[in-house]
């Protein structure tokens, strides 16, 4: 089995047609699904939140078989993920893609669980602390992408589970939980 960092790659990663965008509809559908799963699995394991299409992404090429995805293929696969709500394009030019290997809703649930686990039901924290504070060490929240975190927090705010407030600077954005 091949590995990319510590990520175990599946056998079909060495299948050359996997790297050619298939023209036949049914075949392409399956191919898209496989890439979606692989990308999400990989990003989750590596905690990758962002894919820049124009930069090299390790998953998009396989030197063992000397194949790599074309720009069109990358865009196709990422757009498919976006279409299913597991990713978002950050720009109109489709150059940056935010990967939601947890959906926003899932992140919201993780945050709530985090709050409960640490007895923070009525506490106040900065946003930065949520992602890099001692409580988050070793949890999924560690190193979470800021954009995603904000979205999840906003979602929870809409549900009345917390209140966001601005601090003196961007780093001081805070959260008052009322779970």
């Amino acid at each position: 089995m091949q590995k990319l960092a510590d990520f175990k790659l599946p056998q079909f990663f060495n299948y050359p047609p996997y790297f050619t965008l298939q023209p036949v509809r049914d075949t392409r559908e399956k191919q898209i699904q496989l890439w979606k799963e692989l990308i999400l699995d990989y990003c989750k394991s590596q905690k990758t939140f962002l894919i820049c299409v124009e930069e090299d992404f390790p998953l998009f090429s396989n030197s063992a078989i000397d194949r790599s995805l074309s720009h069109e293929a990358k865009e196709t696969f990422l757009s498919a993920i976006v279409g299913e709500g597991r990713a978002e394009w950050l720009d109109k030019g489709h150059r940056k893609c935010l990967i939601l290997w947890h959906r926003i809703q899932d992140w919201a649930d993780i945050i709530l669980q985090f709050v409960r686990d640490n007895g923070l039901e009525d506490s106040v924290m900065t946003v930065e602390e949520i992602r890099s504070g001692t409580e988050s060490l070793g949890t999924e929240l560690q190193g979470i992408d800021r954009t995603i975190l904000m979205r999840a927090l906003k979602l929870l705010e809409n549900k009345g589970k917390l209140a966001l407030f601005k601090g003196t600077s961007a780093d001081d954005e805070g959260v008052k939980f009322s779970v």
């Binding site: 050359p16 047609p17 790297f19 050619t20 036949v24 692989l38």
Partner: protein
Amino acid sequence: MASGSSIGVGGLFVNAEVTTSGRPVLRRNEVECFLLSSVDFDSEDDPPRFTALKSGNLILTTHRLIWIPSEPNGAVPSSIPLAAVTHIFSHKKSIKSMFHSPRIRFQADPGSIVVTIVFRGKGDFDCFLTKFWECWRGRAWDEEDKSETETSRSGGSATVAQGLYGNDGTVRMVGLAGILRKEQEQWESTDKSLQDAFQDLNALMSKAKEMVSLAEKMRQKLLSAPSSQNSSTDDEEMGSKEEMQQWMLSVGIISPVTKESAGALYHQELSRQLADFVRIPLEQAGGMISLTDMYYHFNRARGTELISPDDLWQACTLWEKFDVPVMLRKFDSGVMVIQNKSHSDEEVMSRIRMLVTKTEALRAGVTASDAALTLKIAPAMAKEHLLTAETKGLLCRDMSPDGLRFYFNLFPEIDLTNLHIVKDFGTYGEWVKATSILSV
């Protein structure tokens, strides 16, 4: 002036037998060689040694010079045996002779009488002269005499052909004389057919201009004729319009109207002929042949009267209307092929499947050339088959700087819920084995 009929003068002229319609009766083995009209036989001696024969048809045969009066004027059809000719004077052309009718002088027995033949009509005088010499030198009567005496001697063996003329009257080709005669006959027939051909050509050329303008008029008329949509009340008109189109096609005139009308007779006939012809090249090509290849084969076989690519395509499209065992098929890529109706895509698919599941093909895929070699068909056809197999989901493609390759389609066998699972059965497992050398 000598008195008496021409017969009476020393037997120079021999009466010639003629049929009721005025044709000379020929002896056995005697062959006509030349015919000229408006010919006189004159004696230039003073006093003339025989009564002149005026204005008759001269027939040169292998044995005689026959003169037949062209009008009933009392003269008797006469002949001079060539055997009696002792000398033919050479014909000198001079300024004087250019203004006169051509004439030949020869000397004949009995009595070494000089005879002048005057040619007052139009005719190939030079040719006659040549043949006169030949027939005289050919001495056909000699061979006959010989054979006659021999047969009378041997009596029973009358079937053996002797000399220049066989007993059944056909000319035998023996000896130098025979060879010369054969050559001569060949030249004569060629010459004659050339003459005929040129007559036709001259006539055609003079008509050509008329024909072209006529054709143009017809074309204009057809072009401006009402279209078939309002034919309900114009059935008669439509019928004659179609007839005109057919006729024009059969004469070889292509008009834009006729090309558009499907089902014209020319295309129908071509279509049938093509369906017959197609059988053998199709078999040789393995059941499927591209339209361009067929165009080459068909025209090559025709030699002349080549058909245009458009005609070929029209002919193929007409096959739908007839009950023929072949059909025209268009692939998604646009390539058009001729195939047997009985051609089975399934059969080709199973052969491809066998090809791509071999270990080496699993590992490295197949190109169109690989497939062409294995399936024994043209590379263009092989590519079409591979593309069809891809559309059916049997194969999938791999595009790289090395080119386009096709692999057995493993996608269906991969489990979405568990990307790492490889089942024991199935081609996916075989593929893994085949590529195990690649894994790190």
